[in-house]
């Protein structure tokens, strides 16, 4: 492998911040979920890169990636369920308009 580790980390960092920007900027709940997925994937990339580079014998990093898969899947499922049930009692998906839980 010729590509240095730093490159992978840089890509994952960029992707991570794109995801964060997505979460902060977009107002549609589903797009926020997608951006969160992007962030998770960025971490996956970094984890695998480190795992391949430093612990390729027992792939400790990749184990975490497996768990991130589990968590991501669960998160999307529950996230969508929440969005849909919120949508059901107020016909909007715009995050700023769902304000019933105001303090």
């Amino acid at each position: 492998m010729v590509v240095p580790l730093g490159a992978f980390i840089a890509v994952s960092a960029v992707l991570f911040f794109i995801g964060t920007a997505g979460v902060l900027v977009r107002r549609n709940a589903v797009v926020i979920l997608m951006s969160v997925e992007l962030m998770l994937n960025a971490t996956n990339l970094a984890l695998v890169a480190f795992s391949r580079r430093f612990s390729s014998i027992d792939e400790r990093g990749s184990v975490f990636v497996v768990f991130i898969f589990v968590v991501a899947a669960a998160e999307v499922a529950v996230g969508l369920a929440i969005v849909l049930s919120a949508y059901r009692n107020k016909p909007t998906v715009d995050v700023d308009e769902i304000r019933q839980l105001r303090g």
């Binding site: 492998m1 960092a13 549609n28 994937n41 369920a81």
Partner: protein, 166 residues
């Protein structure tokens, strides 16, 4: 000859990932951003293959592209396509945001690139065997806990969305 292809592939994949990622955030229509997201996942799987972690790549595609994207697409289909185009263009604090983000970005880039040591060393036999052993032997218990988590999420999601047959 091989050492030329990989950087090229890496560059290609990076461009694809960053472009698709930005696309997901900037796209006006949600369906476009959903599919761009799927495309990013595919590219990241490519990155994994590039890193020599085939199993993880396979799982990545199987889980992210196969299941999560479809789930998100379901979500997209159920929620209304809002007429007003969303996007960055109506934000007023653009400059404030930039001011805030740029120094942090530089800082992160510095940290990221500080890992300048040698390239990643791909184990010969791919990562199936080591990954499988460590997941099912050393991390067996967390694996069980993860399965319980999944079950809980599944039940939770079903209960949340179940419409009482009124």
């Amino acid at each position: 000859m091989f050492d030329l292809i990989e950087p090229a592939l890496f560059a290609l994949l990076t461009i694809a990932i960053v472009a698709a990622g930005a696309g997901v955030v900037l796209a006006n229509r949600i369906t476009t951003s959903a599919l761009l997201m799927a495309f990013t996942f595919l590219n990241i799987a490519g990155m994994f293959v590039l890193l020599g972690a085939e199993t993880v790549a396979m799982f990545q595609v199987l889980i992210y592209v196969g299941a999560i994207t479809v789930l998100i697409l379901y979500g997209v289909m159920f929620t209304p396509q809002s007429p007003r185009p969303y996007g960055l263009f109506f934000q007023t604090q653009k400059y404030w945001a930039a001011l805030f983000v740029v120094p942090i970005a530089i800082f992160v880039a510095l940290v990221a690139f500080s890992f300048r040591d040698s390239a990643t060393v791909g184990a010969k036999g791919g990562d199936l065997l080591p990954l499988a052993t460590s997941v099912f032997r050393d991390f067996a218990f967390p694996f069980e806990v993860a399965s319980v988590l999944l079950l809980a999420a599944m039940v939770g999601a079903i209960v949340l969305v179940k419409r009482d047959e009124d």
